[in-house]
Symmetry: C2
Subunit: 301 residues, 2 copies
């Protein structure tokens, strides 16, 4: 008899890391891992992240029938979350907490409302702000979430389920932050999705040039850091861009307008305007690095 | 009696680092440092980068009269190079080598042609691809150039002077690369100046928002790396943007067009086009990191 039974659907970097973190801090825990990728499943089991490994055949689903999971974690790629919700809806008791770990939140809330129907309020959308360039269970780390933020968008969730989700994340060492899903998607479109898209675009632009080899020969540490996020998973970021389309388009347009201001100032050799923009940016970044965030505007409380 | 006498005009990070590197590898070397900043001069002397420290008064210039420097290094901010050229033109013998260390090269070549006149072919424009976020002689490091590239744009220089400049840089552990000044300015507009401008623009855009505090609270490691170059000196980068204006504007326009392609693909939910761009970018960056540059086009030999 276990005190807590968890099903982790998708045992990649995030799913397996969460499993390892919970294994370390929750006594008498049983974790079932489910994944379409047999190699990932075997790696997750070998690393001790899961006690039972299931594929996605009818027989595997049958094996979960009497599961009575306390918690179901959806850690598949964002695009597969609607399918995953359909797969687990039959496993839910009235007390089963469902969380996800995706980078966009309004889309999964819509999918949960549709698929989980009357049980949608047992779903707590979560976004751990933690990632690595490496993927898969071999890259998993029980400390991945320690000291990191996890955003919970629990406005449609029962408060007891939201509290259970928050407690679960706190066991991993993460700091829980509550935010509305629309705010979440707008904020991360700006500080995360936008830089990713801009970095992908820069590398693609230069790689397409006739003199690409010469360009990359002379690219140095500034270019390396600027484009680091362009080494992220194209599949994952395609899905984020499309799932958070409206916010992402608004960010691209606002950014392009700002670049256009800078371009025009350079074109007319407006030294003061160019310097002022750079000075504002440099100061803002220093304040951010120093944690002096009270220097900034904040209409959104 | 010294084997080599060097004047370093501007004892900031680059000037003082070059002085320290030469001190370590050139026996019987005498270095005079000249700077308008008395604190920097004193620091450069305290660190052993210079043997004699001069300001920029008439008396200081008089002290250089009999100098007969073998090498004059112009390491002031790029904007002051024309003034520095005017200040040193009277110190040149027929064998004095003059180099600079600026990030743009066509502009200093024009200034040298004008100011040094018949001695302009003793000037070898140089660009060490090395920098730090910290500035000034206290950040100087004899190893700053070790293993780094230094681009020489010597198409208007006497070949013996170009060879001496190359030998000087090789003493610092740097790798010398020859390139035409126009090619240099175009290449670095793409791989260096453009990312700097884009990073400054992103930080400024977000800092100007009403919800800036919330945005910066949620900015994480991807944002940190993408914007690292926005912590660079606004004065230096203003000058680079304006001095390399035409190439920088061309880069901003090409980049904006690429971002526009990505934006349109997202707007029409063209999953294949979004994924294809990201996949190309990710692959190109991996090839670059692995040093597999033969994968890229290269019309420019």
């Amino acid at each position: 008899v276990f005190d807590m039974r968890v099903l982790v659907v998708g045992v990649g970097l995030i799913g397996a890391s969460l499993a390892l973190a919970l294994k370390r801090s929750v006594p008498n825990l049983h974790i079932t891992g489910m994944d379409a990728d047999a190699a990932h499943l075997e790696q997750a089991r070998a690393r001790g992240a899961v006690d039972v490994a299931l594929g996605v055949t009818a027989a595997d689903f049958a094996a979960t029938a009497g599961g009575a999971f306390d918690v179901i974690v959806l850690a598949t790629p964002v695009k597969q979350i609607p399918v995953s919700l359909g797969a687990i809806v039959g496993m839910l008791s009235d007390t089963t907490l469902v969380i996800d770990v995706g980078s966009t939140k309004q889309d999964v809330m819509r999918a949960a409302a549709e698929t989980l129907a009357s049980k949608a309020d047992q779903f707590v959308p979560c976004h751990p702000i933690a990632g690595r360039e490496r993927h898969g269970p071999m890259a998993a780390d029980a400390d991945l979430f320690a000291g990191k933020n996890v955003v919970l968008c629990a406005e449609k969730s029962q408060s007891t389920f939201a509290a259970r989700a928050a407690a679960l994340w706190e066991k991993t060492g993460a700091k829980v932050i509550h935010m509305g899903a629309a705010d979440h998607d707008a904020v991360f479109a700006a500080v995360s999705h936008l830089p990713h898209l801009l970095a992908f675009a820069l590398v693609d632009e230069l790689a397409a040039r006739p003199n690409a080899k010469t360009l990359f020969q002379h690219a140095a540490s500034g270019f390396r850091d600027f484009t680091r996020v362009a080494s992220s998973s194209p599949t994952m970021w395609r899905d984020i861009a499309l799932n958070n389309r409206d916010a992402v388009l608004a960010e691209l347009d606002a950014y392009t307008a700002r670049v256009s201001l800078l371009r025009d100032a350079i074109a007319r050799s407006d030294s003061a305007a160019v310097a002022a923009l750079m000075q504002r940016a440099q100061s803002a970044r220093e304040q951010w690095l120093l944690g002096q965030l009270d220097q900034f505007n904040n209409e959104v409380a």
